[in-house]
């Protein structure tokens, strides 16, 4: 990989791909990790997919959630195959509501599953109910069991019993880290996004909540319609390059940008989001400009809204001068 300053001091190119001198802007969120286990990996996955469904954006889903990784039977509390999922929301109260609804409808209902907290946050951590309220589904037949200081609820169901840990810790987390992939065409943008998603999903403590980890409808704050809090990010829409008041896609002839994809990252810590963004960029630029990616950029709000700023050049260890 070769890096060089192209012209102005703030322009960075790696393998012919321009890294914009900009930053991603992210926000504090509340998060938890759940471990779902089942009789086999298939049913654990069914529950995890259902639990993390319709959880792409807090704008309308209540939470952002995703599968963090698949767990072997030697990694779970009950010795069965499992899946770890991360859920993020804007407040602890909303997160608790989402956990109860989603676990109640998607895990309690799924054959053979059990659900456990996946975080060790200490005794003083904030906690959200997990099995604490779902136990009432047992209609009085539920059984509590405290094992090594952790309380579990056993709710009789038609396939046996549903075991759920009573609570799960809620921790501070970071949501909204992002990368924008500006490419020659759809094939190039999708191809780059797919390999970046694969590399980023291999990291712990992060999820990419959008379908396939990729979002094509990047948004800006506000709208000409007063009732809408967000609307299409026209500056990055190739259909509007010649029309919008401000475009980010202006390019020399032969360097046109006709497709943009975004990858959004939620992580348990600042460092987790940064690590995911870094490996995402490195994976894309590793293929070189011949694969069709022209630029890598990031979305922000001028740095005024979110406390977490991820400067792309700094992530790559090459601060623009």
């Amino acid at each position: 990989m070769s890096a060089q300053m192209r012209s102005a001091a703030t322009i960075m190119q790696i393998n012919g791909i321009t890294i914009d001198d900009t930053f991603a802007e992210a926000f504090p969120m509340k998060a938890t990790r759940l471990v779902i286990t089942a009789h086999n990996a298939t049913w654990a996955n069914h529950a995890a997919v259902a639990l993390t469904g319709f959880a792409t954006s807090v704008i309308a889903c209540g939470c952002e959630a995703g599968i963090e990784r698949v767990l072997g039977s030697d990694e779970t509390p009950d010795g069965r195959p499992g899946v770890s999922v991360l859920l993020f929301s804007m407040s602890g109260k909303e997160l608790a509501k989402q956990i109860e609804r989603r676990v109640g409808q998607c895990v309690l209902t799924c054959p053979t599953t059990a659900v456990f907290s996946g975080l060790d946050a200490g005794p003083d951590a904030d906690r959200a109910a997990l099995g604490k309220n779902l136990r009432f589904f047992g209609d009085g037949w539920q059984i509590s069991k405290v094992i090594d200081g952790r309380r579990y609820w056993r709710v009789p169901v038609m396939d046996g019993e549903f075991v759920a840990e009573e609570t799960t810790p809620v921790v501070k987390a970071v949501g909204g880290g992002n990368l924008l992939i500006l490419a020659r065409d759809t094939d190039a943008a999708l191809g780059a996004a797919e390999i970046a998603v694969a590399a980023m999903r291999a990291l712990p403590n992060v999820i990419l909540p959008f379908p396939g980890g990729v979002v094509r409808s990047g948004s800006k704050v506000g709208s000409k319609y007063a009732s809408l809090p967000a609307s299409s990010n026209d500056a990055y829409c190739p259909a509007l390059t010649p029309l919008a008041k401000r475009t980010e896609l202006a390019a020399e002839p032969g360097e046109e940008i006709n497709c943009v994809m975004e990858i959004v990252i939620d992580g348990l810590t600042d460092g987790d989001v940064a690590a995911a963004m870094r490996i995402g960029i490195e994976t894309i630029v590793g293929r070189g400009a011949a694969a069709g990616v022209r630029r890598i950029s990031a979305g922000n709000y001028g740095g005024k809204l979110g406390p977490y700023l991820y400067r792309l050049h700094a992530l790559l260890g090459k601060e623009a001068s």
Binding site: G79, R80, A114, K145, I147, Y152, E161, V163
Partner: protein, 278 residues
């Protein structure tokens, strides 16, 4: 008297001779002694029968060079009752046997008895950890006479055998017996977990309302008021077994087993369970 006047947190109390009458040590907890000198500790008054005498009449008090709140008892304390009663932190170690009510109503901390304990050990224990390396007498982990609820939290380990009525009216916590248990084990159990590795006496689980009984060794025949349930309990069993496996000994191989489950006592709601892994 050994020791000095320096305030400290740890003491060794060596019993000089066996007291003539029962000696009451309740209230002599590690945290209550912390900050006192050995002289002050020796001046504490103890009930000996129906008269109060200074602790120094019975024990040599030695301040130990340790920062943590700790009491080490040495000697045959089998006539000393209430050791660690109401304890709410720190450590007590008894080198030898101890009398009745050891660890009764304790809420936190750790007690280790290297010998055997008398009656009502850990009765109404609410938290912390207590280990008796020998035997315990009757009514361990149960309720104080006249009370409705027995042990209600914490962990009790009995490396030897337990007397009758072990866990009577117990409602929370875990109590483990490595040896045999006497009659009426877990009678009127309200909740909590009891695991036994040896033989059990008659009327096991009598009037058991909820809670879990695990038989790691010989598998007793459930009484007629207990009935089998055939469903898959592998999840909760694995959680329980993994916790017990850490204790080693007869519990070491539990994780690989698939227990039979019985519920009862049907004469008292029937929500208690027996897990028979062999």
């Amino acid at each position: 008297m050994n020791g000095n006047d320096r305030a400290t947190g740890a003491f060794r109390l060596r019993l000089r001779t066996q007291p003539v009458l029962r000696l009451e040590l309740a209230g002599l907890t590690p945290l209550s002694l912390a900050g006192e000198s050995s002289v002050e500790v020796a001046r504490r008054m103890l009930w000996h029968g129906n008269e109060q005498l200074p602790l120094g009449e019975f024990f040599d008090v030695e301040a130990l060079a340790a920062d943590s709140a700790e009491i080490v008892f040495e000697g045959d304390l089998s006539r000393c009752d209430g050791v660690g009663r109401g304890m709410d932190g720190g450590r007590i170690r008894v080198e030898g046997d101890v009398g009745d009510y050891v660890g009764a109503e304790m809420r936190a901390g750790e007690i280790v008895v290297t010998g055997s304990a008398g009656m009502l050990a850990a009765c109404e224990m609410a938290g912390g950890r207590m280990e008796v390396r020998g035997d315990v007498g009757d009514y361990a982990a149960s309720a104080l006479p006249g009370d409705m609820d027995g042990m209600r939290g914490g962990l009790l380990l009995v490396r030897g055998n337990a007397g009758a009525r072990f866990g009577d009216r117990m409602r929370r916590g875990s109590a483990i017996v490595f040896g045999d248990a006497g009659d009426f084990l877990a009678s009127r159990l309200v909740a909590g977990t009891i695991a036994v590795a040896g033989e059990v006496g008659a009327h096991c689980g009598y009037g058991m309302r909820r809670g879990t009984l695990i038989f790691a060794g010989p598998q007793p025949e459930p009484p007629p008021t207990f009935v089998p349930t055939g469903h898959d309990v592998q999840v909760i069993w694995t959680l329980l077994a993994r916790s017990l496996v850490a204790l080693g000994g007869p519990f070491g191989a539990l994780a690989a087993s698939h227990p039979r489950r019985f519920v009862g006592d049907l004469a008292a709601d029937g929500k208690g369970e027996w897990l028979l892994p062999a």
